[in-house]
């Protein structure tokens, strides 16, 4: 049987730690900072993943994209060169591809996307080089970008066919062009031509370097073709009737596209594939950053070792006394080890608390979410740090000769 019993040891350790509250906090500071930063960074990584997953879910799991160039490498990550950045720019699709796809994939919605760039003027403001997305009457529904009730509508098939001068504005650009509000129904000028604003999109928020829908203007595809001066399609969106058909449809799309393009010249992918790639990158980044933050846990551990060595010197007489009255070496070893572990667990606890509060604060302007596993890991790591860096001082204490220790001044 362990003597003293574990609860006696823990009680007396806590008591001796509380006798030096200021020192305890200072000693734990390294662990506190380390755990706080690990919790914060992992919470940001987790929050980011959840946010991006939600964004992709809003697109729908039954969406297939066809884009130029080779986007993914063979391992599912993003291709660094592969099929080539050159092709990424040079390849584009045409309306012929759209009709080929429509012919082979009946029952699916095929939406071409053409991107142009132009200056937009309103009576109140000028915006230069706005991205103008030209697409079909089905794009709004397919990409989950329909104006909400009261904010207008998407353009119709007739408007698309007649290349009517109608435009749907992203939320930010609408506010920029009409700072006093209510852009709906107003006139704007794109390349010296009048357009009518028929819809305004809800704010979607930035998407971390990716396309920001809030900054875009949407027109019938023929308008975008006219603005660019050619009929190049930059991306194709395909909606399958349900998500079980995605895999099979992707193969069919590839077959169609391969008739006109080389294998590396285009990529057919669905949202889950893109999501996995982005999430794996975020995962690696999170681990890397947390690893750097974890260095301060090691520094914190050294701080604990340092203060425990001081404690052992300070309490030499106590150790001598305990030995004289019957403490065997292992009892002393365990006592000081437990003190070190409790010291670092206090740091871990405060760190978890600060990290959690911090991530709540960050969550107001950036997605952040603390997971139970990150708390468990941070806490476990700080306990392990306590053990590793507590062993040396505890061994020193347990090896003191009682005679020398009692004589120590």
């Amino acid at each position: 049987m362990l003597k003293p019993s574990l609860d006696d040891l823990i009680k007396s350790s806590i008591r001796s730690i509380l006798k030096n509250k200021g020192r305890t906090i200072l000693t734990s500071l390294g662990i506190i900072i380390g755990v706080t930063s690990v919790i914060l960074l992992t919470s940001i990584g987790t929050g980011l993943k959840i946010y991006i997953t939600e964004q992709f879910d809003s697109l729908g799991a039954n969406t297939i994209f066809v884009a130029p160039g080779k986007i993914f490498d063979d391992n599912g990550g993003f291709s660094s060169s592969g099929g080539g950045a050159g092709r990424f720019i040079s390849t584009s699709f045409s309306l012929e591809d759209i009709s080929n796809l429509k012919r082979s994939l009946r029952g699916n919605t095929i939406v071409p996307v053409a991107v142009a760039s132009a200056d937009i003027k309103s009576p109140n403001a000028n915006k230069s080089e706005v991205s103008i997305i030209g697409s079909t009457y089905q794009y709004g529904a397919s990409s989950n970008n329909l104006p909400s009730a009261g904010n207008g509508r998407w353009f119709t098939k007739e408007e698309e066919d007649k290349k009517d001068a109608v435009v749907i504005l992203g939320n930010t650009i609408a506010n920029d062009l009409f700072p006093s509000g209510n852009a709906l129904g107003k006139k704007i000028i794109i390349k010296s031509k009048n357009f009518r604003v028929i819809g305004i999109l809800d704010a979607k928020g930035g998407s971390f370097g990716g396309p920001d829908v809030d900054q875009y203007a949407f027109t019938p595809i023929g308008i975008a073709f006219n603005l660019v001066g050619n009929q190049k399609v930059n991306q194709i969106l395909i909606k399958t009737p349900n998500k079980d058909l995605v895999a099979e449809t992707k193969l069919e799309v590839e077959k169609v596209m391969l008739k006109r393009f080389e294998e590396d010249a285009f990529t057919v992918f669905d949202s889950s594939q893109l999501l996995n790639s982005i999430n794996s990158i975020i995962g690696i980044l999170t681990i890397g950053l947390s690893g750097i933050a974890a260095i301060s846990l090691v520094v914190g551990g050294i701080g604990i070792m340092n203060i425990m060595l001081v404690t052992v010197s300070e309490r030499t007489k106590e150790i001598g006394l305990r030995k004289a009255i019957g403490a065997y070496p292992r009892a002393i070893l365990i006592q000081f080890l437990i003190e070190a572990v409790i010291l670092s667990c206090i740091g871990g606890f405060i760190g978890v608390l600060l990290g959690w509060l911090g991530s709540l604060a960050i969550n107001n302007f950036f997605p952040a979410q603390v997971t139970l596993s990150s708390i468990a890991i941070a806490f476990g790591v700080s306990a392990i740090v306590g053990i590793i860096f507590g062993v040396a001082p505890a061994r020193k204490a347990s090896k003191l000769s009682p005679i020398e220790a009692l004589r120590y001044e």
Binding site: K3, E318, L321, G326, L406
Partner: protein
């Protein structure tokens, strides 16, 4: 000062047979104890005295089971304990000996009660019984009103009495007091010595008092004088 009669026929608790303790420093060897033989009987009040450097402290360490002799035998109730390992020695110290030190050696910022209970942490005494025992011992030394006080709130004499309560708590076979009055004024010193006499006379405790002060040593009913690592005189 009244001396209680020496219990000449009571059993021997601790016996040293031809104990030698050699310290080596570099090439020179030095015998701190050079063939010491002595017996301590149950219920005796023995003092060990001698000038500094006489080997008095080394003898105390051997009797206190804090150190092993280089040669010779130490018998505790006729059992040879001279070759026990560190853990076994700690166990024997815990149940057999009660230490009282010159410096009191109480844990700072810790109540009298907790200080008196300390040896029980390392013993087989069940937890619920511990506090009662500590209160009993502190009452015995006259500190039942100071259970919650920390050493800083106690006078030197009171601190030493807490230390005596701590020494008594495991019902030891021998109380080993090393200059117990060395840090006290004469009044508190006298009170502490009175307490030792009380424990000896009324409870039949075996007490070994180590002191350099010949006058104090004379209060015991047997004085062992150590000189140059040898027993020079035993006054009976």
């Amino acid at each position: 000062m009244i001396k209680s009669p020496s219990p000449k026929n009571s059993p021997v608790i601790l016996e040293l047979r031809d104990v030698v303790k050699t310290y080596t420093s570099g090439n020179t060897q030095f015998n701190a104890l050079d063939g010491v033989s002595l017996q301590i009987r149950k219920g005796e009040f023995v003092s060990i005295t001698g000038p500094s450097g006489s080997g008095k402290s080394t003898l105390m360490h051997i009797i206190g089971l804090l150190d092993n002799p280089t040669s010779g035998q130490v018998l505790l109730e006729e059992q040879d304990i001279s070759h026990l390992n560190e853990n076994e020695m700690a166990k024997v110290r815990n149940v057999t000996l009660g230490f009282v030190f010159q410096q009191f050696n109480l844990l700072p910022k810790t109540s009298s009660l907790e200080n008196a209970m300390l040896p029980l942490l390392y013993s087989d005494v069940p937890k619920p019984a511990r506090e009662g025992l500590a209160i009993e011992m502190l009452t015995k030394v006259g500190l039942d009103q100071k259970l919650k006080n920390t050493p800083a709130q106690l006078s030197g004499g009171q601190q030493q009495r807490v230390a005596i309560a701590r020494a008594l708590i495991n019902d030891p076979k021998i109380i080993l007091a090393d200059e117990p009055t060395g840090n006290l004024d004469s009044k508190s010193g006298t009170e502490v010595m009175k307490l030792f006499h009380h424990l000896h006379e009324k409870e039949g405790r075996t007490i070994v008092l180590v002191t350099h002060d010949p006058e104090l040593a004379q209060q015991a009913n047997r004085v062992i004088i150590i000189k140059d690592g040898k027993v020079s005189t035993e006054n009976k």
